[in-house]
Each structure stands twice: as structure tokens, then as C-alpha cells.
Amino acid sequence: MTGLHRRKIVNALAAVVFALMVVLAVIPLFHVLIYVVKQGLPGLSWTFLTSLPAPVGVPGGGMGNAILGSLILVSIATLVSVPLGIGTGIFLSEWGRGRFGALVRWVADILSGAPSIVVGLFIYSLVVVPMRGFSALSGGLALAVLMMPTVARSTEQMLRMVPHTLREASLALGATWAQTVWRVVMPAARKGILTGVMLSVARVMGETAPLIVTAFGSGFWPTSIFKPIAAVPLQVFVYAISPYPSWQQQAWTGALTLVLLVLFINIFARLLLRDRGAQGR
């Protein structure tokens, strides 16, 4: 009987230990979020969101150009990677059972796990060197390389969840494969695909490392995609390692802006997907 008693105690202890692990796991999340809000909120103002960075010692200044720059970079990345990614996802889910499909899947997984700085080096030698200069275009392309495999794999997953009976019904009615995919399968998976795209946008929005060697950063409003451009994460990095308290303050506010954007997209994407699941029954 004492044996059973001991086993019950061990059982209860194990539950406590595992619960503790979860608590330990979420503490950093709350600490980072609360700290970023506490430090960043005092600097958040209309001026911050709309003006150019100010030199050290000059009050005011903001990240207006960096916010616009980030939007431009992410737009270029989205325009390039989403069509390619969705096309690849369609191929993998509908015709990707053979060797070629398996190879593409493996390589896409490798690329999506590749260190982002290495992708930056790749775009540096592919775009920056031939064009003789850092540019918004090269930054956007670097982000596109990071986004594309993620979009492809999530699109594939979402298309696979569409029941086979739908495809069979469409084909039996005389539709071609292209019609079936475009008019039946894709609409059924639309929300899921959108979720995947949004999550990958949120991911590249905060990317810094590849931009250092491609977009480079700038203190002015963007004028051309062939010139260096500012981005919020880059600006946060530069201000964070600077020795000036006023710049460090700007770094926190920039971080807050980033975190708010990223969290908003993540939560919205999640809700969208949950909604879809409920309707799918």
C-alpha cells in the first residue's frame, strides 16, 4: 500500500513539474511584451510615426521613412513570393507525389530554415553586386526568398485538406484539372492560404539581418526602389546599439511598433483559420 502511495505522490509531482515548465516557457513572452510596451509607449506619437529620424541631441524625430520603407520592402517581397509560392503549393499538393515533388519539398524546407543572413549574402551577390549598389529592390527580393518556401508549404497543406470528393465531383462534371484547381479547390482553401501568407508576411516584417547587406538603411524618405531604403527593424538595431538615451528610446518605440504589427497579424490570421475550421463541418 505504501508503494501505491508513493506512486501517487510521484504522479502528482510530475504533473506539477510539467505545469511549471509551461509557466517557465511563457514567462519570457510576457516579460518581453510588457517591457516593450512600458519602454516604447512613452515615445509613441504622431511625430514618431510620420517624421524623419533626427540627429543626436535634436528633439523629436521618428521612423516615418522606416515605416514606409518596411511597407515597400514587404510589398515587393509579397508581390514576388506569393504567386510563386502559391503556384508551387498547387503543384506539390496536386501533382507532387513523384520524385520531383519530394525533391522540391525537401529543398523548400531547407530554404525556409536557412539562416536569413545567408539569404542576404546570396541576394548581395545576385543583385547588389551587378547593380553596383544597395537597393530597396534587393532587400525586397531577399525577403521574397525567405517568404516563398513558407507560402508554398502552407498552401500545399491547406490544399491537401480539401476533400478529394470535391475534386472528383468537379472532374466528373467534365471540368479540366486547371478549372478544378482554380474554381473548386482554391476557393475551398482560400482562407487557409491567406492565413499562411499573412503569417509569412509577419515573419519577414521583422527580419533584419538580410536587410543589412541588401537594403542597407537610409535617413531619408524613399524615392526609388534602386536606392538604399530604411526599414523599421534596421533602424531599431542601429538605435539599440547606439550610446545615446534618446536613440535608445526610439529603438524601444520602434520595437513596440514592430511587435504590435506582428502580433496583430498573427492573432488575426489565427482567428481567420479557426473561423474556417468551424464552417468546414
Partner: protein, 311 residues
Amino acid sequence: MGKSSSVWRRADTWFIVGVAAMAGSVLVVAAALVVLLSIQAAPAFQAFGLGFFVSRMWDPVDNEFGALPFLYGTLVTSFLALFMVIFVGIGSAVFLTQYVKGWIASVTGFLIELLAAIPSVVYGLWGIFVVAPWLRSRVEPWLAEHFGFLPLFQGPQLGVGLLAASFILAIMILPTVASLSRDVMAVVPAPLKEGALALGATHWEMIRTIVLPYSWPGVIGALMLGLGRALGETMAVTMVIGNRPDISVSLFAPGHSMASVIANEFTEATSEVHIAALSEIGLVLFLVTALFSLLSRWMVVRLMARAGREE
């Protein structure tokens, strides 16, 4: 009718060719990445050969380059991060799959995954102003007092250094380890678990004798994927590791990593050999992370297939 149907048939062929070509572009990008980085790295390989990886000289002024300090910094911080994350990552996966269900499990899982959504530059900022001072004033003095006889915990306590980088990395790879472990633990066949419980095992005994052994290969896969992430992480490491190309036994000392040296020096590199040396480091980093992600995927896929057969 006949005509429009033949137009559609032709469109069909083009559609399939088109999406296949898009899929092929993934292969083209990966191949181009390896080829271009190799070309860019060639001068360094010619100048230093394999000695590049065992030399600890890093002197951009004299164009003398050896990558050993960066290999060392990357390996030490990544493995230390993995060591820190093992219990928390696997423990939370067990809790989320074996103890709670429904909305509690999904909300908690979502919170852990949100850790992965926070940009790495934000972790770096937090690392500089929160983690490093905390390590300097609390953790490092404590470690030095109680474990100071180990060379690992000797020397000046700076806050910024290998220990800080490892700590931040641990937090950053936690969601990778926890959510992949959770996925593999979720597929442990219910009949096996029910069998253990029916034989009189307590909940914990069922986890210890069924869930953990069954999901072990997948959990190893999750840890390897986490390790791959840690090896390639750039910004947060750059901001807290101290950026000094030294090899020190002490974890309190500043160091450098493969990714952080690229981020720090690439845009300021003027000589061709310097750029080549950094590109060679980047190429090696890519190949190593690719290897880890393949191994990890292989182990997880094998486990999932087995679970699918036994379900």
C-alpha cells in the same frame, strides 16, 4: 462546345507546366545560392584552404583570416541554448498533449508559438537592456560564487557575452522545440496509452513508459531543428554576444558567432579576401543548417509514418 473544350485542354497543359516551373524555381534558387556563394568565397578558399577552419587569426587589416573563433562561438552558444531548452521545451510539450485539452491547450500552445513571432531584433534589444544587466548583477556573481572553481564561470562578469547569447537563443528556439515535440507526442496511438492505464499505470507512468519512448525519435528531431535555428540566428546574438573574435573557456567572456561576424563586418569589408572569407563562413553555415533540417525532417517523418501505420 468542341472548340472551347480543346482550348481548355490546352490551358490545362499550360497550367500544369506553369505550376511545375514555379516549383522548379525553388530548386533554381537553392542551387543559385550555393553556386554564387561558392564563387564569392573562392578567393578565401584559395588563400587559406582548409586551414581557414582551424586558424584563430582574424585580422582584416593584414588580410589574415581564420574562422575558428566564430565556429567556436556558434557551437558553444547553440549547444548551451539547446541544453537550457531541453527540459522546458519537452516538458511543456508533455503538458500540452497529455494533461490539458481543448481551449486551454490551444491557447497555451499559441502563446508559446507567439515567442517565435517576436522579431529577433526585439529579442536583441531586450537582451541588451534586460538580460545582460540581470546576468551581470545577479546570475553571474551567483555562478562565480558557487561554481567558480570551474573555468567556465571565471573572469570578469560583463553581462554581455557567450552566456547572454545562449540564454536569448534558448528562448528563441523554445517554440520550435516545444511545438514540434507537441506534434509528435500528439500522434502516440491511443490504444498503447490506454493499455498502460488499463494495466494500472499512473498517468506519469504511462507518459514515462509509453509516450516518451514512442515519441523519442521525433523529439530528437525537434531538438535538432531547434539547434539548426540557433546556429543560424543572427541579430539577437550580434546584439548580446560582445562581438570579439576570441576563444575563451569562460562563459562570461565576450565572443563572436559565424552569423554575427557576417552581419557586423560584411558592409564594411573593403578587400576582396575579407568579403570572400565572410562568404565562406556563410556558405558553411548554410550547409550545416541544411544538414540539420534534413536530419530533423527525416526523423519526424519516419515517426509520423510509423504512428500512421499503428493508429
